[in-house]
């Protein structure tokens, strides 16, 4: 580590010492199984989600290896179908969502608002067990006769019925999704209740950190979207086994209904996985620019607007079905660019003329901005029906959403480098972190950008072999190189965790943070706080550590270290 800005504040704890006694609970596996502490559950979530990321990443590398040359025979076509289905399913259902709202949010949101725990600690633990068992259920499809689910992560209706996709793998996919779906719903309930009812005195709604705001909107979207998916999956199961005809033309059903139901969940899901990382990046950009968030209220309203629009855009995934209202969904999808644009301006405004400290977390966040911009701009193309007709189901779409999700991956890593010291007590090695960043960032661009060209040259999605076509082949090879670079970045990350294992004690506030989580110890004690500062703005820890910096009223003395004040931005 180069420089640590603030020495930890040494001060006699004062007042409210009812809960000061050390929590003497079980340890080891009994602790893991019986805990209801949101930090332990969140850490379990994080570790499980990272394992899922590695598993999904291995699938991705096999897929890319298969596509290196035309008519490759590394895997059979049936295996290829299973691989891309389970790659998408693992990454979307089991990694990025649970990592965001089960991992980071679970640990950080209660601490950011000064709460002792989540509102429903036992429900929180149940969420984790449902998520873990759901993940195991879904992945166990590889070990049954017939293999794992092979109808794509979207499970479109005629293909996912019992005639086209027989076997236990598809049922295990449905069963696993039911469990993880309920897990997400319970986490959503928990987050909303925690944010509404367990804030510290003085922490009004418009003083909550942007990450907490984004998690509130995310949690509301979870509650709106996930029940729809669960209901759709139960209907799919009935079609497969009980002889109903909800999604089949034969009995008077409507196959496209599945697409409506799936995408009514699926598009809010895009914001469910994106908004948390918008929040992560907002926090990091502000802290590492040594400035408050630029346009705090604008950020909140942009998040709310994204949430409000998110329920009206689902059918832009279905433009080519020919049965959806094209202008409505096109307009709504284009409107989403407005709040996202506001966020981009505010992010740039936050960095503008700040004292930018290019730590790993900051680099990852800037990488997020660039990668998300690429994915977001190509999303605007896809919101236009004529362009979507041309590019639908080609690699252009694959490249678009991989730019998006790889940006989220950068955001996830930023979150781990930023908050990891808080919940483990130890910093990660910055040198390894920067190596990881460059592999991840360059790898992402090398792997997605050729796919845009591939799509424009007509290569369809989800094909395991392609005819000998020189431009397709070399673009695929470049893309594979990029995927390997991304794989190396993951190896560097794991090496970094191993190298810096309990080596660099973080102290309470290694980054001179703004929000309440940096006020408590690292890792925080049972029930999170020994004491709380007066909350008079959206960055109480900064106010406490820099008295006189802002005109806000400060309730505490002036014993905090007062190093050089940075000029007011």
């Amino acid at each position: 580590m180069t420089d640590v800005l603030d020495p930890p504040i040494i001060e006699e704890p004062s007042g409210h010492e009812e809960h000061l006694e050390e929590h003497l609970g079980p340890t080891g596996i009994v602790k893991w199984i019986t805990t209801t502490d949101h930090k332990v559950i969140g850490l379990s979530y994080t570790v499980t989600a990272v394992i899922m990321m590695v598993i999904g990443g291995v699938f991705a590398e096999i897929i890319r290896a298969q596509l290196t040359s035309p008519n490759n025979t590394l895997v059979s076509l049936a295996q290829y179908n299973e691989l891309f289905t389970m790659h998408g399913s693992t990454m979307i259902y089991l990694f990025i969502g649970p990592f965001a709202f089960g991992g980071l949010a679970n640990i950080i949101v209660p601490i950011q608002i000064g709460a002792p725990d989540m509102a429903f600690p036992r429900l929180n633990a149940l969420s984790y067990w449902l998520y873990l068992m759901g993940s195991i259920t879904m992945l166990s499809g590889f070990f049954v006769a017939g293999g794992a689910a092979n109808f794509g992560w979207v499970g479109y209706a005629p293909l996912s019925n019992s005639i086209n996709s027989p076997g236990a793998g598809a049922d295990l996919w449905i069963a696993g999704l039911l469990l993880t779906g309920f897990s997400a719903i319970f986490t959503g309930v928990n987050l909303v209740a925690t944010i509404f009812y367990l804030r510290a005195p003085g922490m009004t709604m418009f003083r909550m950190p942007i990450f907490t705001w984004n998690m509130l909107v995310t949690a509301i979207l979870i509650l709106l979207a996930f029940p729809v998916l669960t209901a759709g999956l139960i209907m799919l199961y009935c079609d497969r086994h009980f002889g109903t005809h909800i999604y089949s033309v034969a009995g008077g059903g409507v196959p496209v209904l599945w697409q409506h139901v799936f995408w009514f969940w699926g598009h809010p899901e895009v914001y469910i996985i994106a908004l948390p990382f918008f929040g992560v990046v907002t926090e990091i950009l502000a802290v590492f620019s040594k400035k408050p968030v630029f346009g705090y209220k604008g950020m909140v309203f942009a998040t709310m607007t994204i949430g409000a629009l998110s329920l009206g855009v689902w059918a832009h995934h279905m433009f080519t079905t020919g049965v959806v209202l094209l202008p409505f969904f096109s307009i709504m999808s284009l409107l989403i660019a407005v709040p996202t644009g506001i966020k981009f301006f505010n992010w740039i405004g936050t960095m503008w003329r700040g004292e930018v400290w290019l730590s790993t977390a900051m680099l990852m966040s800037i990488g997020f901005l660039i990668t998300f911009l690429l994915g977001g701009l190509t999303g605007i193309y896809l919101a236009s029906p004529p362009l979507d007709f041309f590019t639908h189901d080609t690699y252009f779409v694959v490249a678009h959403f991989h730019s998006i999700v790889m940006a989220l991956m950068l955001g996830a890593m930023a979150g781990l480098y930023y908050w990891g010291p808080k919940f483990t007590g130890y910093l990660l090695n910055e040198k390894y972190g920067k190596i990881q960043f460059w592999f991840l960032f360059i790898g992402t661009q090398v792997f997605t950008l050729p796919q845009y060209l591939l799509g424009l040259r007509g290569m369809p999605r989800r094909i395991g072999v392609y005819p000998l076509h020189p431009s397709w082949q070399y673009l695929n090879q470049i893309s594979t190189v990029g995927a390997v670079l991304v794989g190396i970045s993951t190896v560097v990350f794991i090496a970094n965790v191993a190298v810096s294992w309990k080596k660099y004690p973080a102290g309470d506030n290694p980054w001179d943070g703004h929000t309440l989580e940096w006020f408590t110890t690292s890792p925080p004690p049972h029930h999170n706080f020994y004491r709380l500062p007066q909350i008079r703005s959206e960055r109480p820890t900064w106010d406490y550590n820099h008295p006189g910096h802002r005109a806000a009223e400060h309730g505490h003395g002036h014993d905090a270290d007062s190093h050089e004040e940075v000029p007011a931005p």
Binding site: G15, H16, H23, G25, P26, T34, T35, T36, D37, A115, P116, P121, R122, N124, A125, Y128, W129, L130, L132, M133, G134, T137, A168, D171, I174, A175, L178, F182, F196, L198, R199, A200, P201, G202, T204, M205, I220, L223, L224, Y237, H241, H260, V261, F264, M304, G307, A308, L309, L311, G312, A315, V324, L325, F328, M332, R531, P533, Q534, E553, G555
Partner: protein, 130 residues
């Protein structure tokens, strides 16, 4: 409490506007029903919070000038450890496996879930371990 209510009510209102436009323009059933339900799902807690916010005393977390001492005291009962979420989770695991491998798995599945339901409720009545 007022801000919380406004968050939900404004989301619900925007869904309401969207569903009116969508239904009158497209006459598509599935999406209209789902959007309408989404609107209700926001209005239900939102209007409750609004109704309640007009009747309750202002909470310390809504007071911009609140001091930490005003919030001192018991925030709530937070059980330190509990085995019942795990039991419930394993029960749910067996229940969904019954969808795939046979109805007999409902016996351990529902058994564990009911056991966890009673055990967890009893634990909640006792206030839980700390």
């Amino acid at each position: 409490m007022r801000t919380e209510a406004k968050v939900l009510l404004s989301l619900g209102t925007s869904f309401g506007v969207m569903v009116v436009v969508y239904w009158n323009w497209g006459h598509e059933n599935a999406g209209s029903v789902m959007m309408f339900s989404g609107m209700l799902l926001c209005f239900l807690p939102g209007s409750y919070f609004y109704w309640w916010s007009r009747r309750m005393k202002s909470r310390v977390e809504d007071d911009p000038q609140a001091t930490q001492t005003q919030g001192a005291g018991i925030v709530g009962a937070f059980p330190g450890t509990s085995i019942w979420p795990f039991t419930m989770g394993m029960g749910a695991f067996f229940v969904v496996l019954a969808l795939v491998f046979g109805i007999w798995l409902l016996v351990p599945g529902l058994g564990l879930m009911v056991w966890a339901l009673f055990g967890g409720t009893a634990e909640g009545r006792r206030g839980g371990k700390h």
